[in-house]
Symmetry: C2
Subunit: 361 residues, 2 copies
């Protein structure tokens, strides 16, 4: 069967489809549970979550499904806090804050590095079956602790080099993120510009250089993309944008609508929201900040600085100042229940297999 792979075996799931752990309230317990109940792997996007919220989400998901699910965590980064950079960024952001009626905010952002360790403890406490990582590789002790507790570990790579680093660190499997992907780039061991490798080109090259199973990500939205990924050498896929527009997703309705009506040319790369390159639908914020991108504070500082703007814009239903993360094929997006989306994909794959001349040999 096409849906029986090394990854479905290892994760004890029926369909080699993982719902990306998108951060920022998108991965509701309902979405995660729906994906897992449909035979895929639902994933909590715990990147920006407080430990309390993560704990309560895990509890809710356990009530909604007995199937495996995962948690995605962001490996913490510790950029230098440069007051001048922050002031310059705030100067650029101030007119936008004024326009939205936000009170002036000039606090120096505080990076709380203990959150990650607390998140890990919660994953261990609740024996969450799968833990994936973005923005780097955690310390080996953490990887070993998780594995010793029977938790499957998944790293993220955007180049062959990053994939090899993940394998060497002991990760069980790896998400290989092509440049087609929406949201933040997972790059951590090279220049961002040089890590923009298309999914089509990247998957087979990584497959030739690592022995741990590969999860293809970036530009995969339907049965064609899933099947093509398996042909290219992946053992599963991870889909973000496709699940973001699902009914159970907690994404803002404006965000969903923008994707459902979007085109591939609108999904551009910007560092302006967070200080780290990410793909989202072009809007006023991206256009206005474009020329200043290189001088903005690093992630996660810039992310903290724009937080008030993004959340106020969402409240005011003004999508021009929100981050509208989206991969390169919004034209394939649908507004379905997650289970319907997975069923549609399965049917599409079965149809390709039964109709495609290649299968008839």
């Amino acid at each position: 069967m096409w849906n029986h792979t090394k990854i479905t075996d290892k994760l004890s799931i029926k369909i080699p489809i993982i719902q990306a752990g998108m951060a920022g309230g998108i991965t509701t317990p309902e979405l995660v549970a729906a994906v897992s109940n449909a035979g895929g792997l639902g994933m909590i996007g715990a990147g920006y979550m407080t430990p309390e919220k993560l704990e309560s989400d895990i509890q809710k998901i356990k009530e909604l499904t007995s199937k495996p699910f995962g948690v995605n965590l962001f490996v913490p980064e510790h950029p230098a806090v440069i007051q001048e950079e922050i002031e310059r960024a705030n100067q650029l952001l101030e007119p936008i804050r004024q326009m939205l009626g936000i009170e002036k905010k000039n606090d120096v952002p505080q990076i709380n590095t203990s959150v990650f360790d607390e998140q890990i403890q919660i994953v261990l406490k609740y024996e969450v079956p799968v833990c994936s990582f973005t923005f780097g590789i955690p310390q080996r002790e953490i990887i070993h602790q998780l594995k010793n507790n029977g938790i499957v570990t998944i790293g993220t790579a955007t180049t062959v080099k990053e994939a090899i680093l993940n394998e060497e660190a002991g990760m069980d499997m790896i998400v290989v993120q092509g440049s087609d992907a929406g949201g933040h780039r997972g790059s951590f061991a090279g220049s961002f510009d040089d890590s923009m490798i298309g999914t089509m080109a990247l998957i087979p090259q990584v497959a030739d250089h690592v022995s741990i199973p590969i999860i293809a990500a970036g530009g995969i939205m339907d049965g064609r993309g899933v099947l093509a990924s398996l042909v290219l050498g992946a053992q599963a896929v991870q889909m973000g944008t496709a699940f973001l527009t699902c009914i159970e997703s907690g994404a803002n309705e404006l965000h969903k609508e923008a994707i459902l009506n979007g085109t591939e040319e609108q999904a551009v790369i910007t560092s302006a929201f967070s200080g780290k390159p990410a793909r989202g639908l072009k809007n006023e914020f991206i256009i206005k900040m474009k020329e200043h991108e290189d001088a903005l504070p690093a992630y996660p500082i810039q992310n903290m600085l724009t937080q008030d703007i993004r959340s106020e814009a969402a409240k005011q239903k003004n999508k021009e100042w929100m981050s509208l993360w989206c991969g390169q094929n919004p034209r394939l997006s649908k507004n379905l229940h997650a289970a319907e989306l997975i069923e549609t994909i399965i049917n599409q794959i079965e149809e390709i297999i039964s109709n495609f001349p290649l299968i008839k040999g």
Copy 2:
């Protein structure tokens, strides 16, 4: 059979593989004929060819094969010749010329627009079976004239919009070039930045919006890429980099070696060589010109200005000042005869089909 598609029918070829019409002496008559004799479609990269050279190549190919082959032409562009821009570019290029011992050259480049019409006349005269176009859509009269003479016309698109424009213009089929591709971007109806869509994301979106058959291009190097492209909705693939390193290819040996030893992170986008974005392996020229790219003359003016540097560097076997066009998966490149490459791909596909769980149902 997997290799029986709408495109193999229409082109009367046995394998849905087209060798890209790479310009600049790469597509020797031997390469073109070898690809066609092996069951694919060889293609003359006539972009920068004089009518005389095109005519003699066609004659040689007809001696080497009775199978169909094609010619790729560049639709001419007529940018304003801005003397200031040219002088600024020459100032940047002068130290490189001096270093290579090239005599100062300050002629205003002349764009010869009659070449394209002469090339079309030769295609008609020799009844070349296939004519493909890059950098735009030729006038409708040309498309109709070719089609009325039984010549199959192929356009190039990098977005859904460009694909639709090609279909509306009457093209028989269309090369859909993802951002994974090497060499020049074929974009012509939008901003270059917004036309960098990964092959994985682009093919299915185009397939949903046009009814003419699609030839996938960008990041396809082996059986995995060919089969994945067919699954995504293409009826054939076009491969450039994979054929560039073949034994029959006329590419400079330094260029071949650079690809054979290259990595995916080295294949970057630059406008510095030609005034138009293209993907090639990073070298001194690309690095030095990076900060000036936006101020350079448009294609083809900048291309003419760097001509002496590129050819002198090749003579001196100095790859740092040559254009080393390359797609995003040099790690998959091989130095084989074209027929061996095609046979390897066929065997790989047959192996995937016979071993892949999906096929065993």
